[in-house]
C-alpha cells in the first residue's frame, strides 16, 4: 500500500522530420490515496497508457515528478519502484510454465525457494489456478484467454507490490469473461487493500470498479471524481458524452426570453421554425440569465427522457432504430437537426421504427454546456437516485 502522486507530469514524444513532436501527456497532476482504486479512462490515444507506463518506469518522463510511497521515483528503474503490472495481451513468457511465469520476478529478486513456493501456491489458490485442473505445470499456450489473464494477475500478486498497474487487462476477453474478471479484480482489491491504477477505454469497467475515475482526453485530465460525480456532475461536454450508455444527447440552441420566462430553443436548419422550445424553471433560469440570447448546448441523458403525450414543451423525434435489451429498450431517433437517444424501462419492438414519438425531459436533470469551451455552465446539482432500501435494523438491546 502506498500513496502515488503525479505532479505536473508531461510526456513529449520527439518528432520526425515530417511530423513535429507530439505532446502525449500534458501537465497531469493527480494524488492517489493509499489503497485507492483509480481508473484512468479515455478514448484511444488520450495518453492514459502513457501515464501508466511512466508510473511503471517503462517510459521516460519529459517533465514533472512521480512519487510512490513518498519516494521520488523519476529516475528509478521499473524493478526498484515496487510495482507490478498486468498487460493487455497478458505478456506471459510463452516458453515458461505457469508456475515459472509467476515465480520469475521473485527469482530475479533473489527470494528463497521456500518463500517463492509459498507465494506462488497462495496466489494460485486465490485465483483458482489449482481447481478444477492444476494449471501450474502448463505452458501459456495451453490456457484459455481467461486463464491466461488469471496467471498474469497471479504474476503481479506474488510480488506483493505497493502498487498494482493494469493496462486494459480485460480488452482481449470475451464479454462474459470480462464481467467475471471485473468482479475478480474488484474482489482482489477488497481483499488486498492495495493501491491499484487501472487503465481502460471502457466506461463500464471504469464505473463499476473505480473508487475514483480520471477522465482524460488529448493528454489532459478532463475531470477527476467518483463514478457518481462523473455521471451526475460532469465538468464538461467531453466527460458528459464519455460516461453513460447510450451517450448523452446534445442539442444546440439559444436561450430566449419568451413570455417573461427563459427558454431553450433548439436551432434548426435555415428556413425552418424552431419546433422545440423548452421553458426552464425559475431557479435554472436565474443561473443562466446572463447568457440570454446566446448560443448554448443542452445535454440530457437518454434515461432522463420519457415518452409522453404531445405537450408544448415535449420533444418530437422520429424513431430510426429500436434496440430491445430485455429489461429496457434503447430508442434512437432524430429531430430536424439533432440525433437523439432515449432509454425506457419497457420492452419495445421494431414496430416503433419510422414512427414519431414525443419525449418529455426531466427538468431537474438538464445540463448546459458552453458551445465554445464545452464547460458545464448551469451548475445544476442533479438529484441522485437511490434505491428505497429500508433503514437497517438496530440491534435490540441486550444482545
Amino acid at each position: 500500500m502506498a500513496k502515488v502522486i503525479l505532479e505536473e507530469l508531461s510526456k513529449v514524444f520527439p518528432g520526425t522530420k515530417e511530423q513535429g513532436s507530439k505532446v502525449a501527456v500534458d501537465q497531469v497532476s493527480l494524488e492517489i490515496a493509499s489503497g485507492e482504486f483509480v481508473v484512468l479512462v479515455g478514448s484511444s490515444g488520450c495518453g492514459k497508457t502513457t501515464v501508466l507506463r511512466m508510473i511503471a518506469g517503462l517510459e521516460e518522463i519529459s517533465s514533472g515528478v512521480i512519487r510512490i510511497g513518498g519516494r521520488r521515483v523519476n529516475d528509478l528503474p521499473p524493478k526498484d519502484r515496487d510495482i507490478a503490472m498486468v498487460f493487455q495481451n497478458y505478456a506471459l513468457y510463452p516458453h515458461m510454465t505457469v508456475s515459472r511465469n509467476m515465480s520469475f520476478g521473485l527469482e530475479m529478486r533473489g527470494f528463497p525457494k521456500e518463500e517463492i513456493r509459498r507465494r506462488v501456491e497462495g496466489a494460485a489458490q486465490t485465483l483458482g489456478l489449482l481447481q478444477p485442473d492444476n494449471l501450474l505445470p502448463r505452458k501459456p499456450k495451453a490456457l484459455s484467454g481467461g486463464q491466461r489473464q488469471r496467471v498474469a494477475l497471479g504474476r503481479a500478486l506474488v510480488r506483493e507490490p505497493q502498487v498494482f498497474l493494469f493496462d486494459e487487462p480485460l480488452s482481449n476477453l470475451d464479454a462474459r469473461m470480462r464481467v467475471e474478471m471485473r468482479a475478480e479484480i474488484s474482489r482482489l482489491h477488497h481483499q488486498l487493500g492495495s493501491t491499484m491504477i487501472y487503465v481502460t477505454h471502457d466506461q463500464t469497467e471504469a464505473m463499476t470498479m473505480a473508487d475514483r475515475i480520471v477522465v482524460m482526453s488529448e493528454g489532459r485530465v478532463q475531470q477527476i471524481g467518483t463514478p457518481e460525480d462523473l455521471y451526475y456532475q460532469p465538468a464538461n461536454r467531453f466527460v458528459a458524452g464519455f460516461i453513460g450508455s447510450p451517450t448523452m444527447n446534445f442539442f444546440h440552441g439559444v436561450l430566449l426570453k419568451t413570455q417573461g420566462a427563459l427558454a431553450f430553443a433548439e436551432t434548426c436548419p435555415a428556413g425552418k421554425t424552431p419546433v422545440w422550445t423548452l421553458r426552464l424553471n425559475p431557479e435554472l433560469a436565474a443561473r443562466l440569465a446572463d447568457r440570454t440570447g446566446q448560443p448554448i448546448v443542452l445535454g440530457i441523458r437518454p434515461e432522463h427522457l420519457t415518452p409522453d403525450s404531445p405537450k408544448p414543451s415535449s420533444l418530437e423525434i422520429e424513431v430510426d432504430l429500436v434496440e430491445p435489451m430485455g429489461a429496457e429498450t434503447f430508442l434512437y431517433g432524430h429531430t430536424a437537426r439533432h440525433k437523439c437517444a432515449c432509454r425506457v424501462t419497457a420492452y419495445e419492438t421494431k414496430e416503433l421504427e419510422g414512427k414519431k414519438i414525443h419525449l418529455s425531459p426531466d427538468y431537474e436533470r438538464l445540463l448546459f454546456f458552453d458551445p465554445d469551451n464545452g464547460h458545464e455552465v448551469s451548475g445544476t446539482k442533479i438529484p441522485r437516485i437511490k434505491l428505497p432500501l429500508p433503514v437497517p435494523h438496530r440491534k435490540p438491546p441486550g444482545l
Binding site: 511503471a56 517503462l58 524493478k79 507490478a84 503490472m85 498487460f87
Partner: protein, 277 residues
C-alpha cells in the same frame, strides 16, 4: 470443391512436380554417375541406371582424395565454429538493432544492409591483405574468426524476427527485474529458436560448401576441407575420374542434405518468421 478450383489445384501440382523433378535431376545424375564404371559416365545415349551399381567407387574415391577423414574433421570443426560465432554475434547485434533505442540506429542498420550488396570477390583482395598483416595466412583463423563479427544477412533475419516479438514481453521482464542482458538471454533467445536454427543452418551450409575461402587462405594439405579436397580428384593428369568425383561429391553434400531433411520444419518456420500466437 468446384470444377475450376479442382483444375487449378491439379495444374499447380503437376507444375510443382515437374519443377521438382527438374531440380532433382542433377542430384540424381550425381548419384547415378557415382555408381557407374568410368567408361559409362560419358556414354551416349546416357546410361540412367548403373547395373550393377559399382559400390566400390566410394572407398576408391575416398582413398583417391587423400586423407578424407582429416578433411571431414576440418570441415566439421570450421562449420561448428562458424555456426557458434554467427549465431551468438548476429543475435547480439540484431537485439541491439531491434529492441534497444539509440541515436543513429536506423542509419547504421542501413549501412549494415548495404554491405550485403558487396560480392565476396570484391573484398577478397583487401581481406587477403588484412589477414596477411595479421599473420593469419596459412592458418584456419580467416575462415572462422569473421563469423564472430555478425554478418549482415543473419542480423537482418534475426532483427525482423525480434521485431515481431511483442514489446510487452520485454516490459514485463523489465518489471520482473531483468537486466537488458537477461532479457536477451532468458526471454528473447528462447523465443527466437526457429530463427536462430535457420541462421545456424544457413551458416552450416555456407561453411560446409565453401570452396573459395579455404582455397585462398589455406596453404597446407592437412588443413584442407572436404570442398577443397574434392579438387584433388579433378586435377589428376590422366583426366577427371568422373565416377570417383561424383561419389566423393555425394559424400560431401550428404551431411548438409541430412541436416536440412531433419530440420526443415523449423527451418521453414524460421524463414516465415512466425514465432508467436
Amino acid at each position: 470443391m468446384n470444377k475450376t478450383s479442382f483444375l487449378h489445384l491439379w495444374v499447380c501440382r503437376i507444375l510443382l512436380a515437374g519443377l521438382g523433378l527438374l531440380f532433382s535431376l542433377p542430384f540424381f545424375w550425381m548419384i547415378s554417375t557415382s555408381l557407374k564404371p568410368l567408361r559409362e559416365t560419358m556414354k551416349m545415349p546416357p546410361v540412367w541406371l548403373p547395373i550393377p551399381p559399382q559400390w566400390q567407387n566410394y572407398p576408391e574415391a575416398m582413398a583417391a582424395m587423400g586423407p578424407f577423414w582429416l578433411y571431414a574433421a576440418n570441415s566439421l570443426s570450421l562449420a561448428v565454429l562458424n555456426v557458434l560465432g554467427t549465431v551468438l554475434s548476429s543475435a547480439v547485434v540484431a537485439y541491439g538493432f531491434s529492441r534497444l533505442e539509440w541515436r543513429g540506429r536506423d542509419g547504421l542498420f542501413f549501412v549494415l544492409l548495404m554491405t550485403m550488396m558487396i560480392p565476396f570477390p570484391v573484398v577478397m583482395v583487401p581481406l587477403y591483405g588484412l589477414f596477411r598483416e595479421l599473420g593469419w595466412i596459412g592458418t584456419m583463423k580467416p575462415l572462422w574468426a569473421p563469423a564472430f563479427f555478425a554478418g549482415a544477412f543473419n542480423v537482418f533475419l534475426l532483427r525482423q524476427f525480434f521485431l515481431g516479438l511483442p514489446r510487452d514481453l520485454t516490459d514485463a521482464a523489465r518489471i520482473d527485474g531483468c537486466s537488458e542482458f537477461r532479457i536477451f538471454w532468458q526471454i528473447i533467445l528462447p523465443l527466437a529458436r526457429p530463427a536462430l536454427l535457420t541462421v545456424a543452418l544457413f551458416q552450416f551450409m555456407a561453411t560446409w560448401n565453401d570452396f573459395l575461402g579455404p582455397l585462398i587462405f589455406l596453404a597446407r594439405e592437412e588443413q584442407y576441407t572436404l570442398a577443397l579436397g574434392l579438387q584433388a580428384l579433378q586435377s589428376t593428369i590422366s583426366g577427371t575420374p568422373w565416377h570417383h568425383l561424383m561419389a566423393a561429391s555425394t559424400l560431401v553434400v550428404l551431411p548438409a542434405i541430412l541436416l536440412f531433411f531433419f530440420t526443415q520444419k523449423t527451418f521453414l518456420r524460421g524463414i516465415a518468421t512466425t514465432g508467436l500466437k
